[in-house]
Protein backbone atom coordinates (compact mmCIF):
# COMPACT_ATOMS: atom_id res chain seq x y z
CA UNK A 1 0.00 0.00 0.00
CA UNK A 2 1.15 3.49 -0.74
CA UNK A 3 -0.43 6.90 -0.57
CA UNK A 4 -1.59 6.83 -4.20
CA UNK A 5 -3.49 3.54 -3.71
CA UNK A 6 -5.05 4.85 -0.52
CA UNK A 7 -6.29 7.97 -2.30
CA UNK A 8 -7.51 5.91 -5.25
CA UNK A 9 -9.52 3.67 -2.89
CA UNK A 10 -10.98 6.79 -1.29
CA UNK A 11 -12.14 8.14 -4.67
CA UNK A 12 -13.16 4.71 -6.04
CA UNK A 13 -16.82 5.70 -6.16
CA UNK A 14 -16.08 8.03 -9.10
CA UNK A 15 -14.91 5.19 -11.35
CA UNK A 16 -11.52 3.79 -12.34
CA UNK A 17 -9.95 6.57 -14.46
CA UNK A 18 -11.53 9.46 -12.54
CA UNK A 19 -10.39 8.00 -9.23
CA UNK A 20 -6.78 7.73 -10.44
CA UNK A 21 -6.99 11.27 -11.83
CA UNK A 22 -8.26 12.65 -8.52
CA UNK A 23 -5.74 10.57 -6.58
CA UNK A 24 -2.83 12.00 -8.57
CA UNK A 25 -4.14 15.56 -8.14
CA UNK A 26 -4.65 15.19 -4.40
CA UNK A 27 -1.27 13.50 -3.98
CA UNK A 28 0.33 16.50 -5.68
CA UNK A 29 -1.60 18.92 -3.48
CA UNK A 30 -0.63 17.10 -0.28
CA UNK A 31 2.97 17.00 -1.43
CA UNK A 32 3.07 20.73 -2.18
CA UNK A 33 1.51 21.49 1.22
CA UNK A 34 4.20 19.33 2.82
CA UNK A 35 6.97 21.18 0.97
CA UNK A 36 5.62 24.63 1.85
CA UNK A 37 5.13 23.71 5.52
CA UNK A 38 8.62 22.22 5.60
CA UNK A 39 10.10 25.43 4.16
CA UNK A 40 8.22 27.64 6.62
CA UNK A 41 9.25 25.41 9.51
CA UNK A 42 12.87 25.48 8.32
CA UNK A 43 13.00 29.28 8.24
CA UNK A 44 11.28 29.50 11.63
CA UNK A 45 13.66 26.95 13.18
CA UNK A 46 16.63 28.77 11.68
CA UNK A 47 15.59 32.14 13.05
CA UNK A 48 14.85 30.80 16.53
CA UNK A 49 18.04 28.72 16.61
CA UNK A 50 20.22 31.58 15.39
CA UNK A 51 18.63 33.88 17.97
CA UNK A 52 19.29 31.45 20.81
CA UNK A 53 22.92 30.95 19.75
CA UNK A 54 23.36 34.73 19.71
CA UNK A 55 21.68 35.09 23.15
CA UNK A 56 18.58 36.69 21.66
CA UNK A 57 14.96 35.54 21.74
CA UNK A 58 14.03 35.63 18.08
CA UNK A 59 10.60 36.21 16.56
CA UNK A 60 7.99 36.24 19.33
CA UNK A 61 5.46 38.96 18.58
CA UNK A 62 3.34 37.64 15.69
CA UNK A 63 1.26 34.78 17.01
CA UNK A 64 2.23 32.45 19.86
CA UNK A 65 6.05 32.19 20.04
CA UNK A 66 6.21 34.08 16.73
CA UNK A 67 4.84 31.12 14.78
CA UNK A 68 2.98 33.38 12.35
CA UNK A 69 6.04 35.58 11.69
CA UNK A 70 6.92 33.71 8.49
CA UNK A 71 3.39 34.08 7.13
CA UNK A 72 3.57 37.79 7.87
CA UNK A 73 6.94 37.96 6.08
CA UNK A 74 5.55 36.11 3.07
CA UNK A 75 2.58 38.50 2.89
CA UNK A 76 5.00 41.42 3.08
CA UNK A 77 7.10 39.98 0.24
CA UNK A 78 4.04 39.36 -1.93
CA UNK A 79 2.74 42.86 -1.31
CA UNK A 80 6.03 44.55 -2.15
CA UNK A 81 6.65 46.32 -5.41
CA UNK A 82 8.87 44.34 -7.78
CA UNK A 83 11.63 46.69 -8.92
CA UNK A 84 13.27 45.32 -12.08
CA UNK A 85 16.31 46.62 -13.95
CA UNK A 86 15.67 48.39 -17.26
CA UNK A 87 18.37 46.65 -19.34
CA UNK A 88 17.57 43.15 -18.15
CA UNK A 89 17.34 40.06 -20.32
CA UNK A 90 13.63 39.80 -19.75
CA UNK A 91 12.75 36.13 -20.10
CA UNK A 92 15.83 34.81 -18.31
CA UNK A 93 15.41 37.37 -15.54
CA UNK A 94 11.83 36.36 -14.88
CA UNK A 95 12.35 32.61 -15.31
CA UNK A 96 15.40 32.26 -13.04
CA UNK A 97 13.68 32.19 -9.61
CA UNK A 98 11.11 29.72 -10.88
CA UNK A 99 13.84 27.43 -12.24
CA UNK A 100 15.50 27.39 -8.81
CA UNK A 101 12.21 26.66 -7.08
CA UNK A 102 11.08 24.02 -9.58
CA UNK A 103 14.44 22.26 -9.26
CA UNK A 104 13.93 22.15 -5.53
CA UNK A 105 10.37 20.82 -5.74
CA UNK A 106 11.32 18.14 -8.26
CA UNK A 107 14.15 17.13 -5.96
CA UNK A 108 11.63 16.71 -3.15
CA UNK A 109 9.39 14.61 -5.42
CA UNK A 110 12.13 12.13 -6.24
CA UNK A 111 13.33 11.12 -2.78
CA UNK A 112 11.72 8.22 -0.87
CA UNK A 113 9.93 9.09 2.35
CA UNK A 114 9.38 5.70 3.95
CA UNK A 115 6.06 4.59 5.33
CA UNK A 116 3.85 6.13 7.96
CA UNK A 117 1.24 4.45 10.16
CA UNK A 118 -1.69 2.91 8.16
CA UNK A 119 -1.12 5.04 5.04
CA UNK A 120 1.78 2.89 3.92
CA UNK A 121 4.60 4.18 1.77
CA UNK A 122 4.66 7.96 1.32
CA UNK A 123 7.07 7.78 -1.62
CA UNK A 124 5.67 9.61 -4.62
CA UNK A 125 7.87 8.56 -7.53
CA UNK A 126 8.60 4.93 -8.23
CA UNK A 127 11.35 4.74 -10.78
CA UNK A 128 14.26 2.35 -11.22
CA UNK A 129 16.64 5.26 -11.88
CA UNK A 130 15.33 7.79 -9.36
CA UNK A 131 18.83 8.42 -7.97
CA UNK A 132 20.02 9.70 -11.36
CA UNK A 133 16.79 11.66 -11.79
CA UNK A 134 17.31 13.22 -8.37
CA UNK A 135 20.84 14.41 -9.15
CA UNK A 136 19.58 15.73 -12.47
CA UNK A 137 16.79 17.65 -10.76
CA UNK A 138 18.96 19.35 -8.18
CA UNK A 139 21.43 20.24 -10.93
CA UNK A 140 18.69 22.58 -12.25
CA UNK A 141 19.11 24.94 -9.31
CA UNK A 142 22.56 26.33 -10.26
CA UNK A 143 21.21 27.00 -13.76
CA UNK A 144 18.60 29.32 -12.28
CA UNK A 145 21.25 31.07 -10.21
CA UNK A 146 23.54 31.56 -13.21
CA UNK A 147 20.65 32.85 -15.33
CA UNK A 148 19.72 35.30 -12.58
CA UNK A 149 23.30 36.52 -12.43
CA UNK A 150 23.88 37.12 -16.11
CA UNK A 151 20.43 38.47 -16.98
CA UNK A 152 20.31 41.17 -14.26
CA UNK A 153 22.67 43.58 -16.07
CA UNK A 154 24.58 44.16 -12.86
CA UNK A 155 28.29 43.66 -12.29
CA UNK A 156 27.85 42.23 -8.80
CA UNK A 157 25.30 39.75 -10.09
CA UNK A 158 27.68 38.61 -12.84
CA UNK A 159 30.56 38.17 -10.37
CA UNK A 160 28.21 36.22 -8.13
CA UNK A 161 27.21 33.97 -11.00
CA UNK A 162 30.87 33.34 -11.92
CA UNK A 163 31.70 32.45 -8.35
CA UNK A 164 28.67 30.17 -8.25
CA UNK A 165 29.90 28.34 -11.36
CA UNK A 166 33.40 27.97 -9.88
CA UNK A 167 31.90 26.56 -6.70
CA UNK A 168 29.55 24.16 -8.51
CA UNK A 169 32.28 22.81 -10.77
CA UNK A 170 34.55 22.20 -7.77
CA UNK A 171 32.22 20.14 -5.63
CA UNK A 172 29.96 18.35 -8.11
CA UNK A 173 32.63 15.85 -9.22
CA UNK A 174 33.54 14.60 -5.70
CA UNK A 175 29.84 14.45 -4.83
CA UNK A 176 29.02 12.26 -7.82
CA UNK A 177 32.04 10.02 -7.18
CA UNK A 178 30.94 9.42 -3.59
CA UNK A 179 27.43 8.66 -4.88
CA UNK A 180 28.96 6.18 -7.34
CA UNK A 181 30.68 4.45 -4.42
CA UNK A 182 27.29 3.98 -2.79
CA UNK A 183 25.73 2.58 -5.94
CA UNK A 184 28.68 0.22 -6.38
CA UNK A 185 28.24 -1.10 -2.86
CA UNK A 186 24.50 -1.49 -3.28
CA UNK A 187 24.86 -3.30 -6.60
CA UNK A 188 26.01 -6.31 -4.58
CA UNK A 189 22.92 -6.09 -2.38
CA UNK A 190 20.07 -5.43 -4.80
CA UNK A 191 19.29 -5.73 -8.49
CA UNK A 192 18.24 -2.10 -8.91
CA UNK A 193 20.92 -0.06 -7.12
CA UNK A 194 19.92 3.13 -8.96
CA UNK A 195 16.49 3.02 -7.38
CA UNK A 196 16.63 5.42 -4.46
CA UNK A 197 14.20 3.42 -2.35
CA UNK A 198 16.00 0.08 -2.68
CA UNK A 199 19.33 1.85 -2.15
CA UNK A 200 18.03 2.98 1.23
CA UNK A 201 16.06 -0.07 2.28
CA UNK A 202 18.92 -2.52 1.60
CA UNK A 203 21.30 -0.75 3.99
CA UNK A 204 21.87 -3.46 6.58
CA UNK A 205 24.33 -1.09 8.29
CA UNK A 206 24.06 2.63 7.53
CA UNK A 207 26.51 3.33 4.71
CA UNK A 208 27.91 6.27 6.67
CA UNK A 209 29.55 3.80 9.08
CA UNK A 210 31.04 1.80 6.21
CA UNK A 211 32.13 4.88 4.24
CA UNK A 212 32.86 7.73 6.67
CA UNK A 213 34.96 9.53 4.04
CA UNK A 214 32.06 9.41 1.61
CA UNK A 215 29.77 10.82 4.28
CA UNK A 216 32.18 13.71 4.84
CA UNK A 217 32.52 14.48 1.13
CA UNK A 218 28.79 14.25 0.49
CA UNK A 219 27.91 16.41 3.49
CA UNK A 220 30.39 19.10 2.39
CA UNK A 221 28.98 18.92 -1.13
CA UNK A 222 25.43 19.31 0.16
CA UNK A 223 26.52 22.35 2.21
CA UNK A 224 28.09 23.81 -0.92
CA UNK A 225 24.96 23.02 -2.94
CA UNK A 226 22.78 24.94 -0.49
CA UNK A 227 25.41 27.74 -0.56
CA UNK A 228 25.33 28.89 3.03
CA UNK A 229 28.07 30.43 5.02
CA UNK A 230 31.30 28.54 4.70
CA UNK A 231 30.60 28.29 0.96
CA UNK A 232 28.28 31.22 0.21
CA UNK A 233 30.62 32.49 -2.48
CA UNK A 234 27.81 33.20 -4.91
CA UNK A 235 26.14 35.73 -2.64
CA UNK A 236 28.86 36.99 -0.34
CA UNK A 237 26.98 39.94 1.06
CA UNK A 238 29.99 41.82 2.38
CA UNK A 239 31.91 41.84 -0.91
CA UNK A 240 29.45 41.67 -3.81
CA UNK A 241 26.20 43.19 -2.66
CA UNK A 242 24.02 40.13 -2.69
CA UNK A 243 25.52 38.14 -5.55
CA UNK A 244 23.20 36.78 -8.20
CA UNK A 245 20.07 37.94 -6.33
CA UNK A 246 21.16 41.59 -6.13
CA UNK A 247 18.56 42.91 -8.55
CA UNK A 248 15.66 40.84 -7.26
CA UNK A 249 12.97 42.09 -4.92
CA UNK A 250 9.56 41.08 -3.72
CA UNK A 251 8.38 37.52 -4.21
CA UNK A 252 11.08 36.70 -6.77
CA UNK A 253 13.67 37.24 -4.06
CA UNK A 254 11.45 35.22 -1.74
CA UNK A 255 11.69 32.27 -4.15
CA UNK A 256 15.51 32.42 -4.03
CA UNK A 257 15.36 32.59 -0.25
CA UNK A 258 13.00 29.62 -0.03
CA UNK A 259 15.14 27.73 -2.53
CA UNK A 260 18.15 28.14 -0.26
CA UNK A 261 16.38 26.95 2.89
CA UNK A 262 14.62 24.19 0.98
CA UNK A 263 17.91 22.90 -0.38
CA UNK A 264 19.31 22.74 3.17
CA UNK A 265 16.36 20.55 4.20
CA UNK A 266 16.58 18.50 1.01
CA UNK A 267 20.34 18.03 1.46
CA UNK A 268 19.85 16.90 5.05
CA UNK A 269 17.16 14.42 4.02
CA UNK A 270 19.36 13.04 1.24
CA UNK A 271 22.41 12.66 3.49
CA UNK A 272 20.27 10.90 6.09
CA UNK A 273 18.80 8.63 3.38
CA UNK A 274 22.05 7.73 1.67
CA UNK A 275 24.42 7.52 4.62
CA UNK A 276 22.47 7.30 7.90
CA UNK A 277 19.92 4.65 7.02
CA UNK A 278 17.06 7.06 6.33
CA UNK A 279 13.75 5.43 7.21
CA UNK A 280 15.29 2.16 8.40
CA UNK A 281 14.82 1.27 12.02
CA UNK A 282 12.60 -0.75 14.35
CA UNK A 283 8.96 -0.80 13.16
CA UNK A 284 10.03 1.02 10.02
CA UNK A 285 6.87 -0.08 8.19
CA UNK A 286 4.89 2.13 10.57
CA UNK A 287 7.27 4.89 11.64
CA UNK A 288 9.82 5.10 8.84
CA UNK A 289 8.80 8.64 7.93
CA UNK A 290 9.31 9.75 11.53
CA UNK A 291 12.84 8.29 11.61
CA UNK A 292 13.63 10.09 8.38
CA UNK A 293 12.32 13.40 9.71
CA UNK A 294 14.21 13.08 13.01
CA UNK A 295 17.50 12.25 11.27
CA UNK A 296 16.91 15.06 8.78
CA UNK A 297 16.18 17.58 11.54
CA UNK A 298 19.32 16.65 13.47
CA UNK A 299 21.35 17.14 10.29
CA UNK A 300 19.57 20.46 9.69
CA UNK A 301 20.55 21.65 13.16
CA UNK A 302 24.17 20.59 12.53
CA UNK A 303 24.08 22.45 9.20
CA UNK A 304 22.78 25.58 10.91
CA UNK A 305 25.52 25.26 13.54
CA UNK A 306 28.09 25.11 10.74
CA UNK A 307 26.42 28.11 9.10
CA UNK A 308 26.48 30.17 12.30
CA UNK A 309 30.00 29.38 13.45
CA UNK A 310 32.18 29.48 10.34
CA UNK A 311 33.54 32.37 8.28
CA UNK A 312 33.30 32.47 4.50
CA UNK A 313 36.02 30.59 2.65
CA UNK A 314 37.95 32.42 -0.09
CA UNK A 315 37.14 31.50 -3.70
CA UNK A 316 40.57 30.10 -4.61
CA UNK A 317 40.79 28.20 -1.35
CA UNK A 318 37.42 26.60 -1.99
CA UNK A 319 38.47 25.54 -5.48
CA UNK A 320 41.72 24.13 -4.06
CA UNK A 321 39.70 22.37 -1.38
CA UNK A 322 37.38 20.87 -3.98
CA UNK A 323 40.02 19.63 -6.40
CA UNK A 324 42.96 18.86 -4.09
CA UNK A 325 41.23 17.50 -1.00
CA UNK A 326 37.65 16.44 -1.74
CA UNK A 327 38.41 14.74 -5.06
CA UNK A 328 41.29 12.54 -3.74
CA UNK A 329 39.26 11.70 -0.64
CA UNK A 330 36.30 10.65 -2.75
CA UNK A 331 38.52 8.50 -4.98
CA UNK A 332 40.06 6.84 -1.89
CA UNK A 333 36.50 6.28 -0.68
CA UNK A 334 35.61 4.72 -4.04
CA UNK A 335 38.54 2.28 -3.77
CA UNK A 336 37.58 1.47 -0.18
CA UNK A 337 33.98 0.84 -1.30
CA UNK A 338 35.34 -1.50 -3.99
CA UNK A 339 37.27 -3.48 -1.38
CA UNK A 340 34.16 -3.70 0.80
CA UNK A 341 31.96 -4.75 -2.11
CA UNK A 342 34.23 -7.49 -3.40
CA UNK A 343 35.75 -8.65 -0.12
CA UNK A 344 33.02 -8.39 2.47
CA UNK A 345 29.55 -8.07 1.02
CA UNK A 346 29.69 -10.41 -1.97
Amino acid sequence: MNILTRLQLFFQITGHYASYFLAYIFETIFFLIFVVIALIAMIYIFRKYMARLQLRIGPNRVGKFGLLQLIADALKLVGKESIIPKLRDDFAYKAAPYIVFIGLVVGFVLIPYGSFYWIGSLTITHSNVSLILFFGAIAMMPIGEVLAGISSHNKYAVIGAFRGIAKDVSFEVPMMISAVALVMMDSALSRTPLNFETLVSTQFIPFGILQPLGLFVFMVAMIARSSYTPFDLAESDSEIVSGYSTEYSGMRFGLFYMGMFGSIFLGSLVVSLLYLGGFNGPYSSYAGFVYLLIKGLILVLISFLIWLSMPRIRVDRFINFGWKILLPISIINLIWAGFLTLGVIS
Binding site: R52, L53, L55, R56, I57, L305, S309, M310
Partner: protein, 143 residues
Protein backbone atom coordinates in the same frame (compact mmCIF):
# COMPACT_ATOMS: atom_id res chain seq x y z
CA UNK B 1 66.95 34.93 7.21
CA UNK B 2 64.92 33.70 10.13
CA UNK B 3 62.82 30.73 9.35
CA UNK B 4 59.41 30.90 10.99
CA UNK B 5 58.02 27.50 11.73
CA UNK B 6 54.31 27.20 11.21
CA UNK B 7 52.58 25.51 14.15
CA UNK B 8 51.42 21.99 13.45
CA UNK B 9 47.78 22.09 12.58
CA UNK B 10 45.35 19.21 12.65
CA UNK B 11 42.71 19.92 10.01
CA UNK B 12 39.12 20.57 11.12
CA UNK B 13 39.97 20.68 14.84
CA UNK B 14 39.79 24.47 14.97
CA UNK B 15 36.46 24.51 13.17
CA UNK B 16 35.06 21.91 15.55
CA UNK B 17 36.24 23.93 18.54
CA UNK B 18 34.52 27.01 17.13
CA UNK B 19 31.33 25.05 16.54
CA UNK B 20 31.42 23.74 20.13
CA UNK B 21 31.86 27.26 21.49
CA UNK B 22 28.89 28.48 19.47
CA UNK B 23 26.80 25.47 20.48
CA UNK B 24 27.38 26.11 24.20
CA UNK B 25 25.48 29.38 23.86
CA UNK B 26 22.29 27.45 23.15
CA UNK B 27 21.97 26.66 26.86
CA UNK B 28 22.55 30.18 28.11
CA UNK B 29 19.78 32.56 29.06
CA UNK B 30 18.99 35.21 26.42
CA UNK B 31 19.97 38.70 27.50
CA UNK B 32 17.15 40.43 25.63
CA UNK B 33 14.67 42.32 27.81
CA UNK B 34 11.15 42.34 26.36
CA UNK B 35 10.65 45.96 27.35
CA UNK B 36 6.98 46.80 27.91
CA UNK B 37 6.28 43.47 29.61
CA UNK B 38 9.46 43.09 31.60
CA UNK B 39 11.64 45.93 32.82
CA UNK B 40 15.38 46.03 33.00
CA UNK B 41 17.02 46.40 36.42
CA UNK B 42 17.78 50.00 37.36
CA UNK B 43 19.94 50.79 40.40
CA UNK B 44 18.37 52.51 43.38
CA UNK B 45 20.32 55.74 42.79
CA UNK B 46 19.33 55.92 39.13
CA UNK B 47 17.67 59.29 38.47
CA UNK B 48 15.88 60.66 35.44
CA UNK B 49 12.69 62.80 35.74
CA UNK B 50 13.04 66.31 37.15
CA UNK B 51 10.52 67.19 39.82
CA UNK B 52 9.70 70.66 41.13
CA UNK B 53 8.19 71.80 44.39
CA UNK B 54 6.51 75.06 43.42
CA UNK B 55 6.05 76.17 47.04
CA UNK B 56 9.83 76.05 47.64
CA UNK B 57 10.89 77.64 44.36
CA UNK B 58 12.11 81.24 44.78
CA UNK B 59 12.47 82.03 41.06
CA UNK B 60 16.24 82.73 41.28
CA UNK B 61 16.76 81.45 37.65
CA UNK B 62 19.99 79.69 38.70
CA UNK B 63 18.79 76.42 37.16
CA UNK B 64 18.19 78.16 33.85
CA UNK B 65 21.67 79.68 33.93
CA UNK B 66 23.43 76.45 34.79
CA UNK B 67 21.60 74.21 32.30
CA UNK B 68 24.16 73.27 29.60
CA UNK B 69 21.61 72.37 26.94
CA UNK B 70 19.22 75.26 27.54
CA UNK B 71 16.57 72.74 28.46
CA UNK B 72 15.25 74.90 31.27
CA UNK B 73 13.37 78.13 30.55
CA UNK B 74 11.77 80.29 33.19
CA UNK B 75 8.12 81.09 32.53
CA UNK B 76 5.58 83.16 34.42
CA UNK B 77 2.90 81.26 36.30
CA UNK B 78 0.34 83.40 38.20
CA UNK B 79 0.52 81.97 41.71
CA UNK B 80 0.33 83.39 45.21
CA UNK B 81 3.77 82.54 46.59
CA UNK B 82 5.37 85.07 48.98
CA UNK B 83 8.88 83.68 48.30
CA UNK B 84 8.55 84.08 44.55
CA UNK B 85 7.33 87.60 43.85
CA UNK B 86 8.24 87.57 40.14
CA UNK B 87 6.25 84.35 39.61
CA UNK B 88 9.09 82.72 37.64
CA UNK B 89 9.14 78.93 37.51
CA UNK B 90 11.27 76.51 35.41
CA UNK B 91 9.84 74.77 32.38
CA UNK B 92 11.87 71.72 31.29
CA UNK B 93 12.30 70.27 27.80
CA UNK B 94 13.08 66.59 28.29
CA UNK B 95 13.89 66.24 24.62
CA UNK B 96 17.27 67.88 25.22
CA UNK B 97 17.84 67.15 28.93
CA UNK B 98 20.92 64.99 29.48
CA UNK B 99 20.33 64.40 33.21
CA UNK B 100 23.55 66.18 34.22
CA UNK B 101 21.90 67.10 37.56
CA UNK B 102 23.44 70.57 37.63
CA UNK B 103 20.04 72.13 38.38
CA UNK B 104 19.52 69.87 41.37
CA UNK B 105 22.98 70.73 42.67
CA UNK B 106 22.69 74.47 42.30
CA UNK B 107 19.14 74.96 43.60
CA UNK B 108 19.43 76.98 46.87
CA UNK B 109 16.11 75.79 48.30
CA UNK B 110 16.15 72.24 46.98
CA UNK B 111 12.96 72.95 45.09
CA UNK B 112 14.14 71.14 41.95
CA UNK B 113 15.25 67.54 42.29
CA UNK B 114 15.47 64.34 40.22
CA UNK B 115 13.60 61.14 40.92
CA UNK B 116 13.68 57.48 39.96
CA UNK B 117 10.88 57.87 37.43
CA UNK B 118 12.02 56.77 33.97
CA UNK B 119 9.14 56.39 31.54
CA UNK B 120 8.45 59.83 30.14
CA UNK B 121 7.20 58.55 26.81
CA UNK B 122 5.47 61.37 24.98
CA UNK B 123 4.55 62.27 21.45
CA UNK B 124 7.14 63.90 19.25
CA UNK B 125 7.81 67.67 19.72
CA UNK B 126 5.97 67.59 23.01
CA UNK B 127 8.70 67.03 25.55
CA UNK B 128 8.01 70.27 27.41
CA UNK B 129 6.96 69.93 31.03
CA UNK B 130 5.29 72.97 32.52
CA UNK B 131 5.96 73.80 36.21
CA UNK B 132 2.57 72.37 37.18
CA UNK B 133 3.35 69.13 35.35
CA UNK B 134 6.78 68.94 36.99
CA UNK B 135 5.01 68.78 40.34
CA UNK B 136 3.06 65.66 39.45
CA UNK B 137 4.15 62.04 38.98
CA UNK B 138 4.17 60.59 35.48
CA UNK B 139 0.90 58.70 35.85
CA UNK B 140 -0.83 61.89 36.96
CA UNK B 141 0.63 63.83 34.04
CA UNK B 142 -0.71 61.25 31.57
CA UNK B 143 -4.25 61.80 32.87
Amino acid sequence: MIEVKEPKRIPLIGSLQGMYTVFKHLFKKPITVQYPEEKAYTPARFKFRIFLSMDDCVGCTLCEQVCPNLSIRMIVVERNNPHNKRNLYPQVNFGTCTVCRNCEEICPTEAIYLTHELETARTRNNFFYSPEELQKTESEVKK
